[in-house]
Each structure stands twice: as structure tokens, then as C-alpha cells.
């Protein structure tokens, strides 16, 4: 009966991961990826691995989106300066 919780979290993780792949814009992918990171931490907790969940939470909720968004901004700026002033 306690498998219901595992199934719910697994389905949510699978749906979020599929949605993250299906997005086109990298900024929107970063948003879904941050959601996926928090969900993965919940999944690890449900599977009785809270130590893995702690590190996943630290990396997935703030660090990965920050790195992706910084890269996106840098790439956009470089593209803008190559095209010249708009």
C-alpha cells in the first residue's frame, strides 16, 4: 500500500523529465529542470536515501538553474554583439 507514494512520485518525475526534454527554449528548460531537481530529491527521500536527496536538493534547486541561466545570458549577449547594434 505504501507503494502508492512511490508510484505517484515516479510518475511525476517521469512526466517532468519528458517535459524538460520537450521544451525548445533553454530558459524554459531551466525552469522545468529546477522543478525536476526538487522532485528528484522527494523521490530519493521516498526511497529512503535522504543523504542523496540532500545533495540533489543543493545542486538541483539553485545551482544547475543558475549555471544554465548564466550561460544562456552570455550566449545571447555574444550573439547580439556579433549582429551589431540593434
Amino acid at each position: 500500500m505504501s507503494d502508492a507514494l512511490t508510484v505517484v512520485v515516479l510518475v511525476l518525475v517521469a512526466a517532468a523529465a519528458t517535459a524538460a526534454v520537450a521544451q525548445r527554449d533553454p530558459a524554459r528548460q531551466a525552469l522545468v529542470l529546477s522543478f525536476l531537481g526538487v522532485l528528484l530529491a522527494a523521490l530519493f527521500t521516498v526511497l529512503q536515501a535522504p543523504d542523496v536527496g540532500l545533495s540533489q536538493l543543493a545542486v538541483g534547486s539553485a545551482l544547475t538553474p543558475l549555471l544554465i541561466m548564466l550561460s544562456v545570458r552570455k550566449v545571447r549577449r555574444r550573439g547580439r554583439s556579433k549582429e551589431g547594434p540593434e
Binding site: 511525476l12 524554459r28 525552469l31 540532500l54 541561466m69
Partner: protein, 150 residues
């Protein structure tokens, strides 16, 4: 399966599905709001799980999420400020509903457990969760225009 885990299942399933739907569809403003609500959705579920499994040390996960969730939202509020400049995203009814959910869970756990250091920790987590949620919502709605841009 006891009542706490059942409550966590219902809470995580409902709020998780709603947040997933919000974060994958619609304009950027709506996606950022849904990303902010993820913290308020998962943190009470982690608290309920810690109580359901009878392991007080699992509360640390909820503490870390209450600290880092708003930080992640502030990252998006800062770096997506160009996209969000047109329509300042705000959903105060949703924000207060999420804050009420967190407060209800924390109060229920405080009543269920013995008074002591664990109660103080729960109250600190609740204050961090609600305060961080309000600050992140205000930042998304354009409340801190002085630091926007860049």
C-alpha cells in the same frame, strides 16, 4: 501506510501535478510563478514524510529546501527580468494559499510531536518557508526594481 504518508501522497500528487502543468505551459510569467510554488508544494510534503516514517532527521531536507528554493526563484527573477518586464507576474491568492498550506502542516506537526527542540526547528522551517515564499513572490512581481536588470 499511516495517515501522515497518505497526506504526503495526496499533497505531493495534487500540488506536484499542478506545478508541473503550470511550469510546462503558458507564458514565461506563469512558468516562473509555478516554479516558485514548487518549493511551497514539496517542502510540506517532506515534513509530512519525516513524521510518517518516524525519522526526525529527514526534517533537514525540508530545512534545506526552505532555504534554497527561494534562492533558485530569485536567480530566475534576476536573470529572466528582461522577459518578465512586460507583464509583472503575480498571483497573490495562490501565494497566500501556499503559505497557508505550509503553516497548516507545520502547526499540525507541532501539535502531534512532543514540545522541545524539534518544535522550535519546525517553527523555524515554517517561518523560512513562508518568508522565503513571500520575498520570492514580491521579487517576481517587480517589488525590488532597484536590483532588476543587469
Amino acid at each position: 501506510m499511516n495517515g501522515w504518508i497518505l497526506a504526503a501522497t495526496v499533497e505531493l500528487g495534487g500540488a506536484g501535478a499542478a506545478a508541473l502543468w503550470g511550469v510546462t505551459t503558458g507564458p514565461p510569467a506563469r512558468r516562473v510563478i509555478a516554479q516558485n510554488l514548487t518549493t511551497s508544494a514539496v517542502c510540506p510534503a517532506l515534513l509530512l514524510l519525516a513524521q510518517g516514517y518516524g525519522r526526525p532527521s529527514y526534517v533537514d531536507l525540508a530545512l534545506l529546501l526552505a532555504l534554497l528554493g527561494p534562492v533558485g526563484t530569485l536567480v530566475f527573477a534576476r536573470l529572466l527580468s528582461d522577459d518578465l518586464a512586460g507583464d509583472s507576474p503575480s498571483a497573490w491568492a495562490l501565494t497566500w494559499a501556499a503559505a497557508a498550506l505550509g503553516a497548516a502542516v507545520v502547526v499540525a506537526l507541532c501539535v502531534a510531536g512532543d514540545p522541545g527542540r524539534a518544535t522550535v526547528k519546525l517553527l523555524v522551517i515554517g517561518a523560512l518557508l513562508i518568508g522565503g515564499n513571500l520575498i520570492a513572490s514580491r521579487a517576481l512581481a517587480g517589488g525590488f526594481r532597484g536590483v532588476a536588470g543587469g
